[in-house]
Symmetry: C2
């Protein structure tokens, strides 16, 4: 038995031990999901820049097709086509504010991934857990296609496809397909597929659940084979376009790039795409026949097709925007799927917030007024009655509101304002507000990345495993 297979068994066993209380077995879900020969086929790569701290350590791991930036340590793990972005980690000397605590950070934070199996997963941001300031850990965890682990340390968890855990520490949890969780700290929970849960203890609690039948047409993962549904078909149909960008060593920008804009060389840019200043286009983003106005960003695994974004638009990790016109400052959350049709455009007014994991899939023209909050599944205009509200109205909630499958308790004002603050922070971090002097962000810092590829042992017992690799300043 090859070492890489032993490693797989070791990881699965460790995850199952953590999930024994929930009587959850990850093996039938991920067994043979990524054939071993696939794992030896693709190179991994890492970025070196003058702006990011550097400390990469890889030991006893397969990293096939994965990307690394900043401070990352991977041990005894399988990372398949995953993105581990350590460019928003805390730095020595930072002060971490948490409620009434001001906690000094006295060493650079590091992402540490141990005994885990991540498939096409994005790991980004920093640990929001005041208990583990300097380590953003991912341990004994299995994560599947297009899951996002965002500022969320994880120990002993399973994440289903297209799920997102955001600013939340997880212990021994199962996150169902396409569920979004932002809940501070959770433990020994099983989150059903299609759950959207945003909680600030003592302040507010937002809960939405997709109707199972309809969710399955978009994403369905019974195990035994790759995930199925509209989401998977959509990305599979566009897979080939990425092959070219991954097969050449140096690639020229296919379109002119204004100053202070960063277009990643591992992004796909199809014809008739225009990008403005202070725009950030991350690796694995897909842009086609679209316009990104000043300060817009297109994050990992997002797709923007036949659409126009006015400016300062956030298109979060994994979000998809097709045949749509978005006003200024429209925010589209993680893994949202917004699809208009050529003769039925989707229009979203400025300052609107499309919550993470929202599906808008319309066959008739659909228009969302400016300043609205939108969530859940919207197939036609009338769904907006139960799945949207003006930010103004939502801010007035002070007790409890129930709309369709959405339940909100607590202060709507606090919910809206913390959302808006966060959007502002995201734009700031990405360099949308850069004025040539202040507010430099990723869009400016990522312009001078040099990429480096690494590959595993090509044959023998260690086939597929990478040698120990240490890269430091």
């Amino acid at each position: 038995m090859k070492e890489i297979e032993k490693l797989y068994d070791r990881i699965i066993q460790r995850v199952n031990i953590n999930l024994r209380e929930l009587e959850f077995d990850v093996n039938p879900l991920v067994d043979k999901l990524v054939p071993t020969q696939q794992m030896t086929k693709f190179y991994a790569f890492y970025g070196i820049t003058p702006h990011h701290p550097l400390n990469l350590v890889f030991k006893h791991a397969n990293l096939s097709g994965s990307y690394f930036l900043g401070k990352v340590r991977v041990t005894s793990s399988l990372l398949y086509k995953s993105d581990i972005r350590g460019d928003e980690l805390k730095k020595n000397g930072d002060l971490f504010q948490y409620q009434e605590f001001n906690i000094p950070v006295d060493q650079d934070e590091e992402i540490t991934i141990d005994d885990s199996f991540l498939i096409k997963t994005l790991v980004h941001n920093f640990s929001h857990d005041p208990e583990t300031l300097e380590t953003f850990f991912i341990r004994d965890t299995v994560s599947t296609h297009y899951a996002n682990i965002h500022g969320s340390p994880s120990d002993g968890c399973y994440l289903g496809p297209f799920s997102t855990v955001d600013l939340t520490t997880m212990r021994d949890c199962v996150i169902g397909a396409y569920s979004y969780v932002q809940a501070g700290e959770i433990s020994h929970l099983k989150i059903e597929p299609g759950t959207v849960w945003v909680r600030k203890p003592g302040d507010f609690n937002f809960m939405y659940r997709y109707p199972t039948g309809q969710l399955n047409t978009y994403i369905y993962f019974p195990g035994g084979s790759p995930p199925q549904g509209v989401f998977m078909d959509f990305v599979e149909d566009r897979k080939e376009a990425f092959q070219r960008v991954f097969n050449v060593v140096n690639i020229e920008n296919s379109i002119p790039v204004p100053p202070n804009t960063s277009l990643d060389r591992f992004a796909v840019i199809k014809p008739k795409t225009k990008i403005g200043e202070n725009v950030l286009v991350a690796q694995r983003a897909f842009l086609q026949n679209s316009v990104l106005g000043r300060g817009a960003n297109a994050q990992e695994n997002c797709y923007i097709i036949n659409s126009k974004l006015e400016g300062n638009n956030v298109t979060a990790h994994g979000a998809k925007i097709i045949e749509a016109d978005m006003g200024k400052n429209v925010f589209v959350g993680f893994n949202s799927f917004l699809r208009g049709r050529p003769n039925a455009r989707l229009t979203i007014g400025q300052d609107s917030i499309i919550m993470p994991h929202t599906i808008i899939d319309t066959r008739n023209p659909l228009s969302i007024p400016s300043g609205h909050l939108v969530w859940g599944l919207i197939l036609e205009a009338k769904d907006l009655e139960t799945n949207s509200m003006s930010l103004k109205a939502f801010s007035k909630i002070d007790t409890r509101v129930c709309r369709g499958s959405m339940l909100f308790e607590g202060s709507g004002g606090s919910f809206v304002s913390s959302f808006q603050e966060r959007i502002h922070h995201i734009l700031e971090a990405n360099g949308a507000f850069y004025d040539g002097n202040l507010n430099r962000g990723h869009a400016q810092r990522n312009q001078n990345i040099s990429f480096n590829t690494i590959q595993p042992y090509p044959k023998g017992d260690k086939e597929g495993l990478y040698p120990t690799i240490i890269i430091q300043p």
Copy 2:
């Protein structure tokens, strides 16, 4: 001043201190020879295989366009498009025989490069110095275009373009352009350009000197600008063909490769080329419209064009063969330049030995009988009278022979037999004799190499310097 420039100054100063006695200044020779921006332009790469020990350590160095295999440590050095092949190093447990000594090797040998500047240089084989069994050191050394440092530890030396130092330990020496030195151990010597010197103390001494005027048409390096002459024009004319192979991540073999043959993915193969079994084609080899018979090899920087090699032919590092027909077992030494013309083929009979640094450049058909030894400059048939001898006749020399610019003293028999033994060893090491079971060599071992690219800091003070990189099993 950028760190890479400081590093350059540091190296030049250290080399000049070593060469002060010879009143030799390397600075005017190499100053601006490789512009700093060139040094940041190309990636370096290293191979990982199941058959080679792995231990790569890079610190405070630029490695632009260079290749590494096996056990190599590079510190405070500039390596530009150089090949550092640590695949013939001694291994822990080996027994190193030297005269009457049997010296046990009790750790893996390592190539260590410190405070040196190597330009398009090949470093290969192992340290033949019984005093430094486990380190093949290159220290305080500057080496220029297409020099070969072959099994030759070097401390405080300068190597001119197309020079070769072979199985020789050098201390504080200057090796002139296109000189070949195989002399065991040398110190505080200045070797004039175009010297071919093969010495076995107490056994034999072979000395040839190229006529300066004619040598200059082939290679001329006064300093201040890159080397000039036929050799440089020849490689520059074929430079573009290499760009493609270096610009793609994965490349398919352009011709069918028989079992037990290794065709490096960084070699250039032009149409109508055929290669047989047990053939080794190394990186940076150039093959065009040629046939390589069973067991032939094409080593780094060699060019084989419109030629036929019957089999078990050695084409050593940097050798060039154009419009020629070579019989079985013909050996062509380092950096030799053998050029026939379309209507004036060059024919070399089987078992002949073309000594390293031989130039045969004929405009009329020229035929060298089998079993001959050939050296020096041959422009027409009559030059063979002074520049060749049958191996049989040469073996009979027991005192002293002077022919044209060649002087031989000692035992011709011992000279010929040690040459033949070495050729046999080279074929063996390269896998020419592999029978599907025994005598596995590079041709078989190099089939499963995975290549990995690394790049320097793209901007800032460290621009052009690589981060510290450590790669171990």
